[in-house]
Symmetry: C2
Amino acid sequence: MPELERILQKITLVILDMDGVIYRGNRPIEGAARAVAFLRGLGKKVVFLTNNSENSRAYYVQKLRRMEIPVGEKDVITSGQIAADYIRRRDPQAKVFVIGGEGLVEEISSAGLRLVPPEKAAYLVVGIDQSLTYEKLKDGLRALLSGAKFIATNLDRVYPTEHGFLPGAGAIVAALERSSGRRPDVVIGKPSPHMILYVLRSLRTKPGETVIIGDQIETDIKAGKRTGLFTILVLSGVATEEDVRKIKGTKNAPDCVLGSLAEVVR
Amino acid sequence: MPELERILQKITLVILDMDGVIYRGNRPIEGAARAVAFLRGLGKKVVFLTNNSENSRAYYVQKLRRMEIPVGEKDVITSGQIAADYIRRRDPQAKVFVIGGEGLVEEISSAGLRLVPPEKAAYLVVGIDQSLTYEKLKDGLRALLSGAKFIATNLDRVYPTEHGFLPGAGAIVAALERSSGRRPDVVIGKPSPHMILYVLRSLRTKPGETVIIGDQIETDIKAGKRTGLFTILVLSGVATEEDVRKIKGTKNAPDCVLGSLAEVVR
């Protein structure tokens, strides 16, 4: 694995996607915790990233700790948090209507943004919402037809759980796109660069010293390519060996492919 | 209005779209009831059609009667009814999972089809569902990933009510399309020809003796053009004068444009 060696020598920061890399649903992926400890033992900073905006950072801290990966809130980055940060930097008092989980609502509130009814919103933020109802779609459409900026935390079509694939935020965004005739003005999650740029900025780290490790070509690897990171694809989640064959030699081919995160350990 | 005269002379059957032609939401459009009486007075058969699958035929019979338009169930055609008919003619015992309103469920059951859990369904039928939840999207995705045929009652992006535009069946279909990566195998509602062909077949009437009157170019007029009917656009619903200007001289231009249905009365 000379490519892996070369990457590990050059980098100081490891950005780890969580779903399909550390766990599938609530089941840890074998060897992931040991691999994180190994990377930290080499002196690398490890940051945990997720496109999923359903839960707060505190939730992921607990989840990773249960899987024997010690972390603090600063080590976890969610698309909900970066959506809140994106809006706050433009308008610290912004009026926001949210379709999303409790974690997203929490991130929006704790950023100091104001939660308002749809017709008063300057921003509509849409993420995965397991409590989605027709009423919420109606409200979202009303916000969009009233001119609210359309922010998607991510466009994931599905997300993998131990019970199979469930509809992702992309499905909810699609319903609003179709009815409003509008596309999101901003997409926060991978493959958009917002989350990675946030990490690089806040840790003052350069792309050339950073690797992203993820299980999806369309999100993780693309986002890494766009921001100039090293990229490692693991086959413990969505991407398959066939996907790797298809992408070989193209601009989205990862620098390195591993069966799972466990293989970073020598 | 020589074109209107010419059409009225040639036709024996009038297919009337309801939403935006007879009423908007629960408000009757002025002169619509008198126009229906006038057409019947000329000896024309009048049939009422809706892409909306939420309600049963019985519901529309009551609604039209309240607006002083006497009708029976045989005069009303809904996309839900034609979806049920479409499946029944292929498999009279078909196992079906429904995302839709009570009217759609009623049409599916009364056609003798069997309502089953998503993973057992040979057909997934999707219509507008004001009780939509994330659970239903999850079930719909499960049915599609298990290989169920994907039937959309219609693809309307929105529907107009007295309270503004609400998300249509097309929004729910879009969420399932995005998450499953599949498109509907069959779309029943206009602009698809299924509903019109059903009417022509059951009344043994030729396209050249039939006119469709509707308020939407993309659904009513297109469906009429595809099936070789005369087409009249009314401007009492979705389509505007600007839409008419845009479409002038193209293959989707209606044969005749009226301000509202009231103008058919001489």
